[in-house]
Symmetry: C2
Subunit: 294 residues, 2 copies
Amino acid sequence: MPAPDQAETRRIALIAGNGSLPGQIADALAAAGREFRIIAIKGEAEALTRERADAELGWGEIGRLYNFLKTSGCRDIVLIGGVSRRPDFTSILGDLGTLKRLPTIIRALAGGDDSLLTKVIRLLEDEGYRVVGIKDVAPQLLASGGVLGRVQPAKDDWRDVELALKATEKLGELDIGQAAIAVGGRVVALEGAEGTDAMLERCAELKRIGRVRAKGRAGVLVKTAKPNQDLRVDLPTVGPRTIDLALAAGLAGIAVEAHGALIAERDETLRKADTAGLFLIGLDRSQGAGVADQ
Amino acid sequence: MPAPDQAETRRIALIAGNGSLPGQIADALAAAGREFRIIAIKGEAEALTRERADAELGWGEIGRLYNFLKTSGCRDIVLIGGVSRRPDFTSILGDLGTLKRLPTIIRALAGGDDSLLTKVIRLLEDEGYRVVGIKDVAPQLLASGGVLGRVQPAKDDWRDVELALKATEKLGELDIGQAAIAVGGRVVALEGAEGTDAMLERCAELKRIGRVRAKGRAGVLVKTAKPNQDLRVDLPTVGPRTIDLALAAGLAGIAVEAHGALIAERDETLRKADTAGLFLIGLDRSQGAGVADQ
């Protein structure tokens, strides 16, 4: 193990939303000997996250948040886990520290076309904090390149991988979705606002009603990051539920971007993929050669 | 009216599938004084089409088809209307003329990546027939450029038109779908194998569950032809049902490609759009200026 540089010795604040990812990041940080504090988001963080949290804060408690960050000596922040409920304005009108910053907050949230999270990042950075991502603090949680489970893709699968990958690249150019499905040499579904899970459910329905036909298990879900996606807060993710839905859609496998996508609950996900006979691969686009040569 | 050239005096065979389009084409041809014969596809053509048909033939009756074309003096063919049931092999194993041509038919249908209809066209052309499209025989049925109904798009609508149009162009490059929906400056749905109607239903659902948000009526469905789409058999089409679904999805309007898309049941469709307060526009891409300048 290399000697930790200065950045690696900085204490990290995990601001934790829902799901099991905050816990996984905490485990990875603990295993790496990193110092960290967990701030659970009220009404979002799971019981398991809240149990090990150092603080629990609601949307309106921005004053308390900054106080906590200051007293705990955290200058680096990881925003992790999902947020299912959008804060409304009344829940934002919280503590004194929030009110004091309200003009700045409103200016930041109201302006521009960026996503809510991008604006939150900017607010934190304006206060002198550094927002980092999983890639920075726990890169071992990202998908590696190559075949990740025990099932190997067949030749036809590589053709579908290539087609769906091209489709996600076009989607990315337009900043639309992250995922596409190709079956039997044809792109059959593209992700819009519905998200990957709903797209997989649609694909299952298309097969059921015969609008997509395939002999046996066929087709690939490809999920990649958009070119201007902020990977610190929005990482393409597949997990156990993705495997279930890909199986229900009759697909042969799943491909994600190596080093740019997360396998949530990795052991469980890979076990499920192996059991279902689905391949799961990491595409290393930095290697240039492309998937067609495989 | 210009003097009819030789092509315009040729007798046309309408091979009619389901829906009301075959009847509309027949009306348009009759109004233009063109000579034509109607061949209803068994199990597909509507009662109204069958009533005025000169012949009714099943998938396996290719021998009878060629005989009919020969004796009726039709050298030009229009394939029009939908086909909901794919012929299976037993229904193809029909008359003697079919059997005689079976090696050619199988060779044509089995080879290459083209669609079934493209292959059917090639078969007909190999026998010396010319397959033409609505554009050739009844261009007045295609959408014209500009605002087609009584409702005018607002400034924000033009932005959504431009965004969704860009998305359909990318889809076209990949030969995937014909349609996209943008709402509030964001592309939210892209058409894959599910088709336009199902995509509109999805958009309604996305609004219902709050995954797509808009104040009041907002957003545009854009439907264009793919660059390599054979407009003789596969014309982007909107009709009364498209209006119903666009209304249910809370959209502000619909844009199609001028001279490259069909408004099915035009009067009914425009009446519905006007009543619903939806705009319906034809985008004239050949004029180059683009929609942003509107």
